[in-house]
């Protein structure tokens, strides 16, 4: 280890052939040497550069981050390097890359090459190309990482959806088999001739109750599959919210009473007399939410609070369903509206049900310009579910100051409609139906209600019977027409009847509960439409609607008949 020996100063010729910018500085920044590459980059020729201060040419170098370290190079003999990532450049040199103008990206080293007089060698390497390439690479990498993350999320979501569907199917299989077992078992019991009449009644009731439950499950599955397929249509018509609420009330109250829960309705502020919405869907949503509230509440009360919220673009009617039930955890509340999910799987075992009701309600309210969500919930205290539906424009709509009065009136009507004895005495009805069991069942129902029934087993026979009755001056009061029949189907028969000037009321009967079917039947010339399975009272009411001398009790507006668990009496 001897004293430090400075290496010889490199020759100008040598410096000129280097593919990097090279200059030699004295300790006061005066340029001693300036190579050809720097001439090319800066457009400052050697003659003007040498003897000039580098600081006067590039004032940015006076910045502390350069100055302090360059000073140390001269005083202590340290080396200094300036990385492209932290500084971008040492000398600002304009370059054009990929069509855009910017500064050359440089990697720079400053080293002392002589102590007396102090001289430092500055070497600047152009790394713009590498920089650009790296930026592109990083951007691409980032993109790939994001794509991968997206893919992973999608896979996870698909997996969890699959899992939910498998759970659902397992659950559903159980849900369907349970009532089915009861139906088949008790039907077999009924065949026993030695049964007493009270046993018979009891078994028949059990079969009916389980049949209704099964129907409810099937309806839910159909609704959801229609929604999922994007085929759920809504029919927004003017309707009275108070009468819908009254109807729902009268249906749900029975359930609440059975569980000894207090059940009430409260209105806040004024309520429009009429709104534009789909009454069937709205009723379904309210029945579902109230039904859930009652199902999951053991003691206390269930309340329905209604108010008009018109502080936003589109006014909505807001329904709060407030229960004193078991409440939900945050996690449960979040998962609740996903299809196939109940708050937890043990709930399904305890309470039964498909877990589809909330999903369906959520989609329905969305179709009706609103939403459903858990507004408030506390474990062990209770929950508030909130449903909203758009009211449509309210200009010129009468506002009810005392909506409760309207509800009570409507409720009385609804109850009267349900409880009034409805019969078909003196009516002559033609039933076109090919299924022997259904012929027997419907004939029985109609005859029991007092009607005289003639059965036709296909469209052609029905048409002939209707026309000859008319020609004899004793037309049928009403024709019930199954739409799927051999020889001539219902569509054809109705079309021909209308063509031949038959004006008898015709009600279509079909097992297809899809909304498009109704339009198809109406287009063929039917006056109305009823779906199978047949609901006795509903069918009778529907018939009376079309018989001119019908008594009161058929005054409720008729929506497409969709069997609902709750309104089968």
């Amino acid at each position: 280890m001897g004293p430090v020996n400075d290496p010889p100063v490199p020759s100008q010729t040598l410096l000129d052939v280097l593919p990097m910018g090279v200059c030699i500085l004295s300790d006061d920044y005066v340029i001693v040497s300036w190579n050809r590459t720097l001439e090319d980059w800066t457009c400052i020729d050697r003659n003007s550069a040498v003897g000039t201060s580098l600081l006067s040419l590039f004032p940015c170098l006076a910045e502390e981050r350069y100055a302090s370290r360059i000073k140390q190079v001269f005083t202590d003999g340290t080396s200094a390097i300036f990385s492209p990532a932290l500084h971008g450049h040492f000398l600002p040199v304009k370059v054009c890359t990929g069509g855009t103008e910017g500064f050359m990206v440089q990697s720079t080293q400053v080293r002392r090459i002589m102590e007396q007089p102090a001289l430092a060698l500055v070497t600047i390497t152009d790394v713009t190309a590498e920089w650009m390439q790296l930026m592109r690479l990083n951007a691409k990498n980032e993109e790939l990482l994001m794509a991968k993350a997206r893919e992973q999320r999608a896979t996870a979501a698909a997996e969890s959806a699959n899992l939910a569907k498998s759970d659902f199917l397992a659950n559903m299989s159980h849900e369907i088999r349970t009532p089915m077992t009861a139906i088949l078992g008790f039907a077999e019991n009924l065949l026993d001739v030695s049964l007493s009449s009270s046993e018979r009644l009891n078994y028949a009731n059990t079969i009916r109750r389980n049949g209704e439950a099964l129907l409810g499950i099937i309806n839910d599955i159909l609704d959801l599959s229609k929604i999922e397929a994007g085929k759920m249509d809504t029919d927004r018509i003017p309707c009275e919210p108070c009468s819908i609420i009254a109807e729902v009330f009268s249906l749900v109250q029975v359930q609440a009473e059975a569980k000894r829960l207090s059940f009430g309705i409260e209105y806040t502020g004024t309520i429009p007399k009429t709104i534009h919405t789909d009454p069937t869907r709205l009723r379904q949503v309210l029945i579902n939410l109230l039904g859930n509230a009652i199902k999951f509440t053991e003691v206390g009360s269930v309340r329905l609070e209604i108010r008009l919220v018109d502080d936003r673009d589109e006014p909505v009617l807001q329904f709060d369903i407030i229960d004193t039930g078991r409440g939900l955890t945050q996690g449960q509340a979040e998962k609740l509206f996903q299809p196939f999910v109940q708050a937890d799987t043990s709930t399904a075992r305890e309470f039964g049900g498909t877990g589809l009701g909330l999903t369906i309600s959520k989609r329905f309210t969305e179709l009706l310009g609103g939403e459903v969500y858990v507004a408030k919930t506390e474990r062990g205290v209770g929950s508030t579910f909130r449903a909203t539906v758009a009211t449509g424009p309210l200009d010129g709509v009468v506002m009810l100051d005392n909506p409760m009065a309207a509800t009570v009136v409507a409720e009385a009507t609804a109850i009267a409609a349900q409880s009034s004895s409805i019969d078909l005495h003196g009516l002559r009805i033609l039933l076109a139906e090919d299924g022997v069991d259904n012929q027997r069942l419907i004939s029985f129902v109609l005859t029991k209600a007092g009607a005289e029934v003639e059965v036709a087993e296909n469209g052609a026979i029905a048409m002939a019977a209707a026309l000859s009755a008319r020609d004899e001056g004793t037309p049928f009061d009403c024709i019930l027409m199954d739409m799927q029949m051999p020889v001539m189907d219902g569509y054809e028969a109705v079309a021909q009847l209308r063509e031949k000037g038959c004006v008898d009321p015709i009600i279509a009967l079909t097992a297809h509960a899809m909304s498009g079917d109704r339009a198809k039947c109406m287009k063929a010339g039917c006056d109305d439409y009823a779906t199978k399975p047949i609901e006795r009272k509903k069918l009778i009411k529907l018939i009376r609607k079309f018989v001119p001398n019908a008594a009161s009790g058929a005054g409720l507006p008729q929506e497409p008949n969709r069997p609902t668990l709750q309104n089968i009496q």
């Binding site: 004293p3 003999g77 080396s79 200094a80 390097i81 990385s83 990532a85 932290l86 980032e142």
Partner: protein
């Protein structure tokens, strides 16, 4: 080589001064407070130092090495695990993208950081002993074979060399990484250092 407590204290102080200077320089440069901290300084034999460092790092090791020459000679290095090296480069660059390898720009950052820190420490040591040093430029090595990267280019036998080992913590904002700072002295250099410290004491 045994150093007295007095020698170790003096050297530790010099290293700390140098590190402090480097920290303020880095802070100024990246526009954020950079804290550098050297809790302990030890001297050990070359082979022992290598063992200590490689155990501390785990995984692949990276290093920034800078040679020095003059009154005393050898090479100085900052040794980091690859993960810590990536983190440090990102901390100083304010970079958040998720990299798993070091690109040339990050290597450039590490070289500059190493340059500043090693200059600070070596400068401080040379001031202490009024020595004159000529400094090389730092070189980044990824997946470095530590023995190789620190071995002297001269004919010295490595096993006879002494190593000053300082554990270092780099912190920027809320985050920090651990590394080691090593100065590998060529044979005889530590004696020169001790002599200089002795003459200071008298």
């Amino acid at each position: 080589m045994r150093l007295s407590q007095y020698h170790e204290d003096a050297i530790a102080e010099a290293v700390n001064i140098g590190i402090g200077r480097a920290a303020s320089c880095l802070s100024e440069m990246v526009g954020a407070t950079v804290l550098l901290n050297v809790p302990s300084v030890t001297f050990c034999a070359y082979a022992g130092a290598c063992k200590q460092v490689s155990v501390a790092g785990g995984g692949p090791i990276t290093s920034i090495t800078q040679a020095f020459n003059g009154t005393i000679a050898g090479s100085a290095a900052i040794v980091l695990s690859e993960d810590d090296a990536i983190t440090l480069a990102q901390l100083l660059h304010g970079d958040t993208h998720t990299a798993t390898t070091l690109d040339i720009l990050q290597q450039g950052i590490l070289e500059e950081v190493g340059n500043i820190i090693l200059n600070g420490v070596l400068g401080s040591l040379s001031n202490l002993m009024s020595a004159k040093l000529l400094y090389g430029v730092p070189k980044f090595k990824s997946n470095a074979n530590l023995l190789l990267s620190l071995s002297s280019s001269g004919s010295d036998h490595n096993e006879h060399r002494d190593v000053l080992l300082a554990n270092t913590r780099f912190a920027v904002a809320e985050r920090s990484v651990q590394g080691s700072l090593l100065i590998v002295f060529d044979v005889g250099s530590v004696q020169v250092l001790i002599d200089a410290l002795e003459s200071l004491a008298t």
